[in-house]
Subunit: 437 residues, 2 copies
């Protein structure tokens, strides 16, 4: 019988600091829940001088991650440095040494998850990654264990707090994207370089992980159609409001007929839905299962303590397996390895959706007829139109909501429409979800 | 190595039928997730003649629950008959035989949970009860495993779908309680005898279970202050709306300074909150943890398939423990037995809250002054008042929102006010949550 579970932590940044604070401050609570103490054996970081406001025993801090990987005393290695290199080498090295691994690294799992899970299965060690998606929300655990009976048909996630903060503020305050982004950076809600958040890549990483667990299939990041916030403007947020919608950056995955959809893009959803009410930096994941029906999980998707809390939940789960000799109790990918199937991901052109289209067109007779004619030729039905009042001399927005249409047809129609002389800008297209026709 | 996990089911009613449907229809999916088949060895029910639309092999159905408990082949006994007797005897009997148990029986667990958990710990078997609280929402699992690092300070739950349906409809349609209840019964959303739902007892059962897991303390049902929907009327729903609130039947538990609060009553919460948006028969649990912050779980709290899905999640969890020899991996009550502490539950008189008070008083000069005077003498500050226009000859509603006050003081003040000649009815009191002063 072990007397403690020894943890080695690689990366003492924001999440690492939150993790260590929780392990120290909740030492008693964790002992009461686990029955054995969790011991921080070693923490590796390039910077071991900075004051993080945490008192650690001498000898715990080091600069050499290899020391942790090699240490035969350490049971669980926690990787919190982010990025793919050298995080991948550290994790594979720890697995090779027979150590269990906890990681918060969504980019790594979305890219090299299969390699890591396969290596872990071969060495019969566990990999926990609750913290990689939606911080404090126990979504990974819920998908792998709570919703185990569910054939999941759809996932809609608000999985990037920075984007949700920006969209919430744009909607509430009517300010422009760039201004809100600046404010978010000043408040620490957006990174100095927010590219991965804003362009949807971070959401795509998380969606790759969720879709993998939901459908039992490897999901290649490059097959996830990804569109960020760049083209969302206040005018579209206002029109959405007029039609009864909010705009959210959604990570969407669906399964039907042996095929899946996986895509990230700004999406209009009905104002009455719970998901549309999720504001600020909060995350939420809405799932549809065949027996459970609709389930929603909501909480803080990022931050030192919320993400640290998710890491601790994995450490405790792995520690429970260590104590009981039960590693591999739950397959890392929610399905046993031989039963996973490679399901095809639909190209974006093949999906069907409702669409919001905003044309910027000359306000003269015949334009509406011409545009709707081209849509009609491409099998796109119109359910609502807003044509704004005359502006002297300029182009005015012409907004249409479509019936369900195929993306390929919509793209074809828009490429024709955008070539027309009296259309002054590339047409704005926003997909609409949740309206059953 | 076992070739299958054998399940015995006691009770083939609504939830039992849902469970069996899922086990049969999702046989492949469950095999892909668990790695071993789940086999329905036996189902006991008083009525084995009724057509439930399910084809079962001959010999599976029986009328004698004892047969299941005695069967040495059966690994997991699922109790779905509800009520305390004979459910308790069946469960204790199965545990005595070394079988693992899954139950959806909240009344039993709220009353005899400690006996059952103790017996299970002694025999080193597992007891799963995900289905006992909020059907398809994986709240038990999330509290025991996902939020393991959290010191939970507050739980606010909409845990009874019948009550939430009635309140939602009263709010949306302005109809009276009795009429909506009748409609709910016609739609199958309310039982023929809805007493346990309407009077808050069902919510109190669920709260006893949740508070136990959150705080590591046995919670005695009789110490949970419980008030049902009986006194909620459309007029109060309308006034709540005027002040910016919705009325929900909330199950509330809080912990501070080594004491807990546990109470069920109609509660006003701000319209902007996610919890207030939870409508119809849906359930939601909102938790506040010290690291995770606010977390919310939402889904279907009842029904054949949603509850059946929760039962399956427990069966799979227990099966995983059986396969790995890891029974007792997670303590049934989320805390190891020796570390649990009996925390005192505050009497309702000792709590502090904001209050909505509706007096029915004669509309004559001096009444407002007299009533507010009595409140003031009892240390109750008023934050807002609505005094409705004169009605010829009758009593009119006088509505006040208070600052934070002690319940004991409020009760004292109301007992004085209700004795006054110009007050015609017992004053309506509704507690208000979520407003930080």
């Amino acid at each position: 019988m072990k007397s403690s579970i020894k943890i080695g932590i690689i990366g003492f940044g924001t999440v690492g600091t939150g993790l260590v604070k929780i392990l120290l401050q909740q030492k008693d609570l964790l002992l009461r829940r686990l029955g054995l103490p969790l011991e921080i054996a070693s923490i590796a970081d390039r910077d071991i001088e900075r004051d993080r406001g945490i008192a650690l025993p001498p000898g715990v801090l080091c600069t050499d991650a290899a020391k942790i990987i090699q240490d035969p005393e350490i049971d669980i290695v926690v990787e919190l440095i982010g990025g793919t290199d050298p995080a991948k080498q550290y994790i594979l090295g720890a697995i090779e040494k027979g150590k269990h691994v906890v990681t918060a690294n969504k980019a790594l799992l979305a890219t090299y998850g299969e390699d890591i899970f396969q290596a872990a299965a071969e060495k019969e060690v566990d990999v926990g990654f609750e913290a990689s998606v939606c911080g404090a929300i126990p979504i990974i655990r819920s998908m792998k264990e709570g919703l185990v009976a569910e054939e999941i048909s759809a996932i809609y996630g608000i999985v990037n707090g920075t984007c949700n903060y920006i969209l919430t503020k744009m909607s509430e305050e009517g300010k422009a994207f760039a201004q809100i982004l600046q404010e978010a950076q000043d408040l620490g809600y957006a990174e100095a370089d927010p590219t991965l958040d804003i362009d949807g890549a971070d959401s795509a990483h998380k969606l790759a992980i969720l879709a993998n667990l939901a459908f039992g299939t490897p999901v290649s990041l490059k097959e996830i159609y990804t569109e960020g916030l760049e083209r969302v403007s206040s005018i579209d947020i206002d029109f959405a409001e007029d039609f009864g919608y909010k705009i959210k950056l959604l990570a969407i995955a669906k399964a039907a007929n042996g095929e899946i959809e996986a895509r990230v893009h700004p999406t209009m959803i009905r104002k009455e839905t719970l998901l549309s009410t999720v504001g600020g930096v909060f995350n939420a994941v809405y799932l549809v299962g065949d027996s459970a029906g609709e389930v929603l999980f909501y909480g803080k998707g990022a931050g030192s303590l919320p993400t640290g809390s998710a890491v601790v939940s994995d450490i405790v789960a792995l520690a429970r397996n260590i104590i009981k000799g039960a590693s591999g109790r739950v397959p890392a990918t929610a399905f046993t390895t031989p039963s996973r199937k490679q399901l095809p991901i639909k190209a974006i052109e093949e999906i069907e959706s409702l669409y919001y289209l905003r044309f910027m067109a000359e306000d003269h007779p015949g334009v509406l007829s011409k545009i709707s004619g081209i849509l009609g030729e491409n099998h796109i039905g119109i359910s609502a139109v807003i044509q704004q009042g005359r502006k002297t001399g300029g182009h005015v927005p012409l907004v249409m909501m479509t019936h369900r249409a195929r993306e390929r047809d919509v793209r074809q129609a828009l490429s024709n429409i955008d070539e027309m002389d009296y259309v002054s800008e590339k047409t704005i297209l926003i997909r609409v979800e949740g309206d059953d026709e």
